[in-house]
């Protein structure tokens, strides 16, 4: 039996030590009626057979490694340097427990402390927590934090319709029992008032657009509300950080920094805010301290906010978070560093602009020109988006764009395309040739 070290003799010795004859005797409290069910599971496999089965499942998928991928919309095909996985594969990291006991967890704690510091640098904020499950749940926790900052006295939440549709859905799921009023809001709309807890916007937004966030910060602050910005950390290698525009909470999806696509997870929610909100913040926080000998050490701190101590009065219920994915992001940020992060963002930016220019020239396709953008843009197709996608996959082996008609009726027939540092010029030219074939 794999993974079980005990021999029959070991088991007998243990039974004798506790003074019973059989393991069954220890289970007398389990109602007999339901004891020892026959589980209908497939027969156990050897390691070799298990590997074959999983390899055949993986092979039957067509993945972004099998052809050019221009699909983004919240999950991105970015390059992961080999050093990232080399660190993640260390058993001392991935088989470690959550760092409750600082004396046996200094490695994890220091790595997370450094992660937090780098997230602050990237977002332009003062404090970052240790992570959330993903960008969507970080956004939901940011909304709850904003409501708590106003001590539940403000119950309205304004969200831009150009925040990721699944993030908006998760905000609704999380807050369904809280009696909040959640509605769409765009610049020019009325209704940011003294009952509004926060305004949530995305940067770049779901359609890839980037704009000066200052007017949004001013509109929110004029109403006494917080500005929550959902940001793409890869874009922040090049773009002005939300903190400089006056954001109060910056959250986002950190998957692009060292976590693969993995069919949607595990990803990484990051969460950063101003120092004044640190006690209202959800999640764990690692702080630096000194031990009895005056040496530097790291601990989970301000845990009086957390459910272990505050129980039903906690700022959130999050416990296990994304430790190892946060470590991946830390290694990624350290490895790329000050210059590399900018270079990746520049490759994304310039190649996306080249792609949009080339697609603009195709008869039948048109691009929606709506001001500055980062690495995603909207294309109007001459036929349903699903047909374009199916044709490009079947005939060219290209994973094409996101069908915006899924979420926005007014964008039926529009596709969101994404270009990253993983798409060299030849791939973009190939995409253009494929789309020309569709248009013809």
């Amino acid at each position: 039996m794999p993974y079980i070290p005990h021999s029959d003799a070991d088991r007998q010795a243990m039974l004798a030590a506790v003074g019973v004859q059989s393991i069954e005797e220890l289970l007398a409290d389990v109602p007999e009626r339901v004891r020892f069910p026959d589980l209908n599971l497939p027969p156990a496999l050897s390691e070799m057979e298990a590997r074959w089965e999983l390899e055949s499942l993986a092979r039957s998928n067509f993945a972004a490694a099998d052809g050019p991928c221009f699909l983004g919309a919240g999950a991105y095909h970015h390059f992961v340097p080999a050093v990232v996985d080399a660190v993640l594969r260390r058993g001392e990291f991935y088989t470690a427990y959550t760092p409750y006991q600082p004396e046996v967890s200094q490695g994890t704690l220091q790595a997370i402390f450094e992660y937090q510091t780098m997230i602050c640098a990237l977002t332009g904020m003062a404090v970052s927590n240790a992570s959330h499950y993903d960008g969507a749940t970080a956004a939901a926790e940011a909304v709850i934090t904003a409501v708590n900052v106003h001590r539940m006295k403000r119950r309205k939440v304004a969200i831009s319709p150009w925040v990721h549709p699944e993030y908006r859905a998760v905000v609704r799921t999380y807050t369904q029992g809280m009696g909040l009023e959640i509605r769409d809001w765009e610049i020019g709309d009325q209704g940011l008032d003294d009952e509004t807890a926060c305004l949530v916007v995305q940067y770049p937004d779901f359609l890839g657009r980037i704009e000066d966030l200052r007017p949004l910060a001013e509109a929110a602050h004029a109403a006494g509300a917080l500005l929550v910005v959902v940001a793409d950390p890869i874009a922040l290698g090049l773009l002005k950080p939300p903190g400089e525009f006056g954001a109060d909470i910056v959250v986002g999806e950190g998957q692009g920094m060292g976590a693969g696509l993995n069919f949607g997870g595990p990803y990484l929610g990051f969460f950063a805010t101003r120092e004044e909100y640190v006690r209202r913040m959800a999640g764990r926080l690692v702080g630096q301290t000194v031990d009895v000998d005056g040496k530097r050490g790291f601990v989970l701190t301000l845990s009086t906010r957390e459910q272990h101590i505050r129980r039903e009065k906690a700022t959130s219920n999050i416990c296990t978070n994304q430790g190892l994915v946060a470590l991946a992001a830390a290694v990624y940020m350290a490895a790329l560093g000050r210059c590399g992060m900018r270079q990746v963002a520049e490759l994304c930016y310039h190649r996306a602009h080249y792609a949009r220019q080339r697609i603009r020239e195709i008869d039948g396709f048109s691009v929606v020109d709506d001001g500055p953008f980062f690495n995603e843009f909207v294309v109007r197709c001459p036929c349903p988006v699903s047909e374009v996608n199916e044709y490009l996959l079947a005939e060219w082996g290209i994973i094409c764009g996101y069908d915006l008609g899924r979420d926005y009726a007014r964008l039926d027939g529009h596709m969101l395309l994404c270009v990253t540092e993983m798409n060299p010029r030849e791939e973009i030219d190939m995409l253009v040739a494929a789309l020309e074939e569709v248009a013809a």
């Binding site: 993974y3 409290d29 339901v34 004891r35 069910p37 589980l39 599971l41 496999l45 390691e47 590997r51 993986a58 998928n61 067509f62 993945a63 991928c69 996985d85 260390r90 991935y94 088989t95 470690a96 427990y97 046996v104 967890s105 994890t108 790595a111 640098a121 499950y133 993903d134 998760v170 799921t173 369904q176 922040l236 090049l238 773009l239 693969g260 696509l261 993995n262 069919f263 949607g264 997870g265 272990h308 129980r311 039903e312 009065k313 219920n317 416990c319 296990t320 978070n321 994304q322 430790g323 190892l324 994915v325 350290a334 560093g337 210059c339 590399g340 992060m341 310039h350 190649r351 500055p372």
Partner: protein, 354 residues
């Protein structure tokens, strides 16, 4: 042993990654949107590897020694699981790809749902929740939605034993419900007298009871069936915290014991790594009465196996779903590991693990 911060070993001009040169004409960037400075470290590849290797050596872990921790079940993390979870056909799969191009991944999700249904004794499972605490929030929201759907809007009380993990009451209050603590008896089980009194006083306000079984003291709640009967008699539901589910594998199924909804922890019970504090995975199982409220999407088989063709799988959203609790479908990379673990152990192996 101490290690300098990564910022303290930074030297201007170093970078650990070589990127390709720009191969397209540069585009203009609006000046008001470009950042001036980025205060990240500048280190070489060897600096990165040495720094994190030294940090790793400051940890205690399952791979370095015995880890007899109760409640959060630290078990050995099989190496084959790490290998298969890194197969390119899984790692480079985009969540929004056409369903036809991801049938292998959908099959894996579908059968893991089936395995967990069978192991827990439930009618439906959603793999979306990211960790135990999110599974709890999911379960509590499902119980709330169930009562509201029946037009029973006055119910707002959740009973939580005083021995419960702090996430139980925190998840309850996030759902807008009230927590009422039930004391333990001298043996560490739920105090039946106190439970009867609470059910008597708050019966028509009761959403449900959250119970960890075996409980945080490691004891099987010997009167679990009576507890379930009491709660059900006043219209409440039984929530199971599966933190200690490892002890029940092949021994008893929570669904058979009277639980209506339960979260599993793949990182405690099914051998996936704790990762130094995540990523976990907290799938939720539901009895027939709650299946329609599960978070979606879940995977369904819309064409069965036949002699001529392979089965076909598709995403569906449960009818009265509470909505999605996270983006996409859950921690797929963790699911691959748990699927492999169950495939290698089979029914006999799981029982021997317990």
């Amino acid at each position: 042993m101490t290690e300098p911060l990564i910022f303290e070993i930074s030297r201007p001009g170093r970078c650990a990654v070589k990127l390709p040169d720009l191969d397209v004409p540069p585009a203009e960037l609006p000046e008001n949107l470009a950042r001036d400075e980025l205060a990240l470290p500048e280190v070489s590849e060897a600096d990165v590897v040495r720094h994190y290797t030294r940090l790793s050596q400051m940890n205690y872990s399952v791979d370095t020694g015995f880890y007899p921790l109760g409640s959060c079940t630290m078990k050995y993390n099989p190496k084959i699981n790490e290998e298969v979870s890194r197969l390119p056909g899984f790692v480079h799969l985009h969540p929004y790809q056409n369903e036809e191009s991801v049938q292998g991944a959908l099959l894996l999700i579908y059968y893991l749902q089936e395995f967990l249904k069978e192991i827990g004794g439930f009618a439906g499972v959603s793999l979306q929740p990211a960790a135990g605490a999110q599974g709890e929030l999911t379960g509590v929201l499902m119980m709330r939605a169930y009562h509201l759907d029946r037009g029973d809007a006055a119910r707002d009380v959740i009973l939580v034993p005083d021995s419960a993990h702090g996430t139980n009451p925190a998840s309850t209050s996030m759902s807008g419900l009230r927590v009422l603590e039930v004391p333990s008896d001298l043996r560490g089980n739920v105090d039946m007298g106190a439970l009867e009194a609470a059910c008597g006083e708050h019966g028509d306000r009761l959403v449900g009871l959250m119970l960890t079984n075996p409980n945080t003291l490691g004891l099987f709640e010997e009167r679990v069936e009576e507890i379930a009967a009491l709660v059900h008699d006043c219209g409440g539901l039984m929530y199971g915290d599966g933190a200690n589910m490892n002890a029940l594998l092949g021994i008893a199924r929570p669904g058979d014991l009277g639980f209506d909804v339960l979260h599993y922890n793949l990182h405690k019970t099914f051998g996936t790594p704790h990762g130094g504090g995540g990523p976990g995975s907290g799938p939720v199982g539901a009895a027939p009465s709650l299946v329609d409220f599960l978070p979606g999407p879940v995977v369904a088989m819309d064409e069965e196996w036949s002699e001529e063709s392979l089965p076909h799988f598709t995403f569906v959203s449960p009818q009265k779903s509470i909505g999605r609790v996270k983006a996409f479908y859950g921690h797929f990379g963790v699911m691959v590991r748990a699927y492999t673990y169950i495939r290698m152990l089979g029914a006999d192996g799981l029982r021997r693990v317990a």
